[in-house]
């Protein structure tokens, strides 16, 4: 059993007079000391802009920033020049939506799933509307899994699915989906915001064409995200944002672009945050992604058992612990999700009520006005599952159900 309170002092904080039980990792994860120190070091020791200066501070900043690209690449088995820094997964997916749809024609089809986060739904929806493209949805079945086998056709140009649902916890078989997509000449994008932090990820093994994730969901800072893309695809794509750094040459008449990844990194980057993300990856590597996966599997098995034993609780997503991560969305009969969250908060337990940025999934597929979600990460324990369960029993007492 590993103890993380030294690295995450916030775990010792009291909330409403109770020990903090942080179960909102699907929204954002906690950030360990080494990451904060790495970011502070940038501001204290080599606070300079990258790629521009000759002076020593700028050289050092550039070195650290470029190393961050390399470190992230190694973490997911990609090449450095296939890693683009963005502000987050949402920006990465917007980049892909704007850039890739430039090369599509009216009537071409884009396929996303019913379980997507708004970041992987709304951009495609809106660009399809603007450009006369067809947006289709892979259905979620009653087990919380995707019915993807027959839905990709030769008309499909882009398939974009989540690696792990932030609502249902479903781990999608993206390697298999990639194979089928490629057989039909379609690109496969993986929204890995929820999966990269929790599962060892190898983009070459998955053979996905693009993959996106966010720093703040994997013990890194906010304001930094990653877009991975196969080099030959990035080379063909049009830039998303224009400005400094992404250009090779600019005259008053026209401009030429840098090679990828710089082509997609306009303006001064989030330098401290990129360095922070690299430190987060060092930290996760030290803890061990295999250990993280195993530990969370144990928590998942335990939580599945305990949560399903609560009378009146409906748990959404796969009930098989092998098919899901440690994200648990549920409803309690007779008590609204918002009230559950309020009462749990009085007990120091942080969960999230609402739609989890997946309004169509929650309201139209699960047919609920809102759900409550408890999402775990590697520093959470089985004791915290027990505290959650006790808190839910307390909710039932307050509402007399």
């Amino acid at each position: 059993m590993k103890n993380f309170t030294k690295d995450f002092p916030i775990l010792n904080e009291q909330v409403n007079g109770k020990q903090l039980v942080y179960l909102d990792n699907g929204a954002t994860s906690l950030t360990p000391e080494p990451v904060l120190q790495a970011m502070n070091e940038y501001y204290h020791k080599f606070n300079a802009n990258v790629h521009r200066g000759i002076h020593s501070l700028s050289e050092k900043a550039t070195e650290k920033y470029d190393n961050a690209h390399a470190k992230i690449a190694k973490f997911i088995n990609a090449n450095s020049d296939e890693i683009i820094f963005t502000r987050g997964t949402t920006e990465a997916l917007n980049l892909l939506a704007y850039s890739l749809t430039n090369d599509l024609t009216e009537g071409d089809e884009i396929l996303v799933s019913e379980m997507e986060h708004h970041a992987n739904l709304v951009p495609w929806q809106q660009l399809a509307k603007q450009k006369g493209l067809k947006l289709k949805y892979i259905k979620v079945n009653s087990e919380g899994e995707l019915d993807f086998k027959k839905v990709i056709t030769d008309k499909t140009k882009i398939v974009s699915v989540t690696g792990m649902s932030n609502v249902l916890g479903t781990i999608n078989p993206v390697k298999e989906i990639a194979k089928i997509a490629h057989e039909h000449g379609a690109l496969l994008i993986v929204d890995a915001a929820q999966s990269v932090p929790h599962l060892p990820t190898d983009v070459k093994d998955l053979d996905c064409d693009f993959l996106t994730f966010s720093g703040h969901k994997m013990a890194g800072p906010t304001g930094i995200g990653v877009l991975y893309g196969k080099k030959e695809l990035l080379d063909k794509m049009q830039p998303f944002m224009y400005g400094g750094d992404m250009i090779k040459e600019v005259t008053f008449k026209d401009s030429t672009w840098s090679d990828a990844p710089l082509k997609f990194e306009a303006g001064t980057p989030s330098i401290a945050e990129a360095i922070g993300l690299a430190a987060a990856i060092d930290y996760l590597t030290k803890v061990g992604m295999d250990w993280i996966q195993e530990h969370e599997q144990e928590i998942t098995k335990y939580a599945l058992e305990k949560l399903q034993s609560i009378d009146g609780l409906t748990l959404y997503g796969p009930k098989n612990s092998e098919k899901r991560g440690s994200v648990f969305s549920f409803t309690l009969k007779g008590i609204h999700a918002h009230d559950i969250a309020e009462i749990l908060n009085q007990e120091g337990i942080a969960i999230r009520p609402g739609h989890m940025c997946a309004m169509p999934l929650v309201t139209q597929v699960l047919k609920q006005p809102a759900v409550a979600r408890a999402s775990f990460y590697f520093y959470n324990t089985k004791e915290e599952v027990d505290k959650l369960v006790n808190g839910l029993e307390e909710c039932k007492k307050v509402f007399n159900v």
Binding site: G334, I335, H336, A337, H338, D339, E342, I343, Q346, P353, G354, H355, V362, T363, Q368, P369, A370, E394, K397, V398, F399, N400
Partner: protein
């Protein structure tokens, strides 16, 4: 532990109004019918109001939502029966907080005010 809640947000009257909402349903004969959402937590309220001689002669509400939003709507329908249009228009946030009688954090203010916002929307739509 449950006693703590009785002094706080989930006082007995809130729970009572939530579980036994007054005037729950839909009027078939109405002068005002309107719906409003609180998107932050998935609450929605529909109000149907019948007027007679410029006063509220009957009112019903339907909806799904958290205890605060439902209790607020239930209490509001009781409060506005017999009120005239002028009095309805003068209702404000302070009246709602006094009506609920509980201390609200900023996150729950929208829940409490949903009923009032729905009423205001209905008045505006009916051009009253």
């Amino acid at each position: 532990m449950t006693e703590e809640y009785e002094e706080g947000l989930y006082r007995e009257n809130i729970i009572d109004h939530y579980k036994n909402a007054r005037n729950f349903g839909e009027l078939k004969d109405y002068d005002i019918k309107t719906k409003e959402l609180n998107l932050t937590c998935g609450d929605q309220i529909q109000l149907t109001i019948k007027l007679k001689d410029d006063k509220v002669s009957d009112v019903k509400f339907e909806g799904a939502g958290c205890a605060v939003s439902i209790a607020s709507a239930s209490m509001l329908t009781e409060k506005i029966k017999g009120m005239n249009i002028k009095q309805l228009k003068e209702l404000n946030e302070k009246d709602i907080y006094a009506m609920l009688g509980i201390k609200l954090g900023t996150a729950r203010v929208n829940c409490a005010l949903l009923s009032l916002n729905t009423l205001k929307k209905g008045l505006k739509e009916a051009k009253l």
